[in-house]
Structure formats: C-alpha cells, structure tokens
C-alpha cells in the first residue's frame, strides 16, 4: 500500500537521471523489484502510470523481478 510513495520516489530518480543524460523524453524505465522488497509490482506499475509527468510523461516501466529485496532503477530509454 506504499507503492504510490515508491512510484513518486522513482519518478524523481527518473527525472534526475534523464536530465543528467540529456534525455528530453523517456520512453521506458527498467526497474528491478525483489519478491522480498515489500513492494507489489502491479500496484507500483499502476501508481507510476498515474503519477508520470514531465520528461517521463510517456514512460512505461519494464519490470524485472528477483528473489531478493531489490528495489532499484536500472536503465532508461529515450531521446
């Protein structure tokens, strides 16, 4: 139930990373969510879809799961 807060934090990281790499439009964001991270992947995807804005306004999440407690952004795609 804290996925909205996680999605907000992710959006902040995406925006900062896009700016660092000179991406004006981010089309996809690779993230890694572990089974033991306490985060429900589907809820995180939905929350991100609602919150996404700015350079990440059209970004979709490309999610990879692990058995651990991972919760990280891994790559951005865009132009």
């Amino acid at each position: 139930m804290h996925e909205v807060a996680i999605a907000q934090a992710l959006l902040t990281e995406v925006t900062a990373a896009a700016s660092r790499h000179g991406l004006k439009n981010v089309s996809a964001v690779g993230i890694c969510v572990g089974h033991n991270s306490g985060v429900a992947a589907e809820a995180l995807m939905q929350a991100f879809e609602i919150l996404r804005e700015g350079c990440a306004g059209g970004a979709v999440l490309d999610l990879r799961t692990t058995e651990g407690a991972d919760l990280r952004m891994e790559w951005l795609e865009g132009e």
Partner: protein, 244 residues
C-alpha cells in the same frame, strides 16, 4: 534517436540519504534510535509504557509516535513522563509508514540533549515500514500472540531485518492455539535475532528486553566514543547500518 542508458540507482536513494543524515545527527547527540515495527494492536505503545516505567530516567527515553491520525499514542507515552512527539501521517498523504523526512522534522520538536534512547514507533503495519530506513540504529519487530504463530512465515522479510523481536501478549497463550515452538521455528528460518516473549499487560518477561536495550545503548555509546578517538575529532559517527 532512441538510446538506452544505464542508471543503476536505488529507488529510495533520496530517503536513504536523508536517513544517513538523521543517523549522523543522532550519533552526534549520543542517541541510540530504535525503529519499532508491528501490526496495529500488537502492543507497541503498551510495550513503550512498560519500558518507560522500568528504564526511565535511569536511561532517558524519548519517543516519536507515528499514526495515520490522532495524538493519542504520544499522549499515552507522555503520561509516563518521557518526551514524546506525534507524527500524524494523515497530514502527509496518509502515509502507511514513516520515512526519514518525517523523522527528521519530528527530531526538531524533541529535547535531544535529554534523550539517550529514542523509540520511533512506526505506523501499525507489517509491510510498508520495512522498506523505509528512517535513520534508526536498530529495528525491533513487535508481534503478538493473537496474531498467530505463523506470523513470520507470512512476513519473512520484515522479520529478517529485525535486530530483535518482541512477542507480546504471552499471557494469552493458555487461551489460544498459539505455539511458541512454531513461532520460534519460523523466526529461526529467517534470523538469529534475539526473541523476547513478554506480556506488556502483566509485565512478565520484560527483564531480558530491558537488559537488551541497556546493552545496545552502552554499545552504541562505546562505538561512538571509539570512532571519535579514531578520527581525532567529533565529526558525525559513520554508522555501520546496512542500507541495502
């Protein structure tokens, strides 16, 4: 042209950075902070009331209470004579957990010079608080007998991160199907952290819990002193807290 760039970063990077700042501030103030996580009704506040009666002011306590709404818990704890501030998360998006920024703001409302052990009672929830480092040194998970002896099997990662586990309401074992053996076996699958089986209502089993807090506080102060000696100045102690 579409490009792909590697940007490996923890999603909660900003919170973790703030948590490290909070921990540095607490280290400088000589405060040992304990993040108390447990379900609603597990008895976190009752445990704090009992702990205050047995430990304060021999070791001076302070409390940050996290709830969705009301200042009831902070008022309960304040009646024990210890400084307590309430975070009502309904004022910050109804958050189901505390984060480092909320704790940082609450610290400004506490008389830090008068506190040796700070309890941060998280919002009653066994899932969300586990993801957030709030700047604590130690994490304690509170479970209780009526919740069932299979609690650890259902929430393994929350218990795996605990530095200690308190099992409250053991006075109710005779009137439930609860098996302490089953609970302990589940716990030992994920952690070797000490287990304190207590009743905040009757007071049984609290001696071990109190001794553990005292030992942790003494150890933290000793480590902080050593770190100051080693670096030759009293800069913020670098915590060995695992942030993931």
């Amino acid at each position: 042209m579409t490009v792909r760039v590697e940007v490996v970063e923890r999603i909660l990077r900003a919170n973790d950075a703030l948590a490290a700042e909070v921990r540095g501030l607490l280290d400088q103030a000589g405060i040992t902070a304990i993040n108390l996580i447990g379900s609603p009704g597990s008895g976190k506040t009752s445990l704090l009331e009992r702990t205050a009666a047995l430990l304060h002011p021999r070791i001076r306590l302070g409390v940050i209470e996290g709830d969705i709404a009301t200042t009831r818990d902070a008022e309960r704890v304040a009646r024990c004579g210890i400084p307590a501030v309430q975070i009502e998360t309904r004022l910050v998006g109804n958050a189901c957990h505390l984060d480092a920024s909320m704790v940082q703001a609450a610290l400004g409302r506490l008389p830090l010079a008068d506190v040796q052990v700070l309890f941060i009672e998280n919002v009653g929830n066994l899932v969300c608080p586990a993801a957030y480092d709030v700047g604590e040194h130690l994490r304690v998970v509170v479970a209780s007998v009526p919740e069932g002896d299979d609690k650890v099997y259902k929430y393994p990662s929350t218990f795996a991160w605990a530095d200690a586990v308190v099992l409250n309401k053991v006075d109710l074992v005779p009137v439930t199907e609860f098996s302490l053996e089953t609970f302990t076996a589940g716990l030992r699958e994920v952690t070797a952290a000490p287990l304190f089986a207590i009743s905040a209502r009757t007071g049984e089993g609290l001696a071990g819990w109190i001794a553990w807090i005292e030992a942790q506080q003494a150890g933290h102060v000793r480590d902080a002193a050593r770190s100051v000696t080693a670096t030759g100045h009293d800069s913020a102690v670098v915590s060995d807290k695992e942030t993931g």
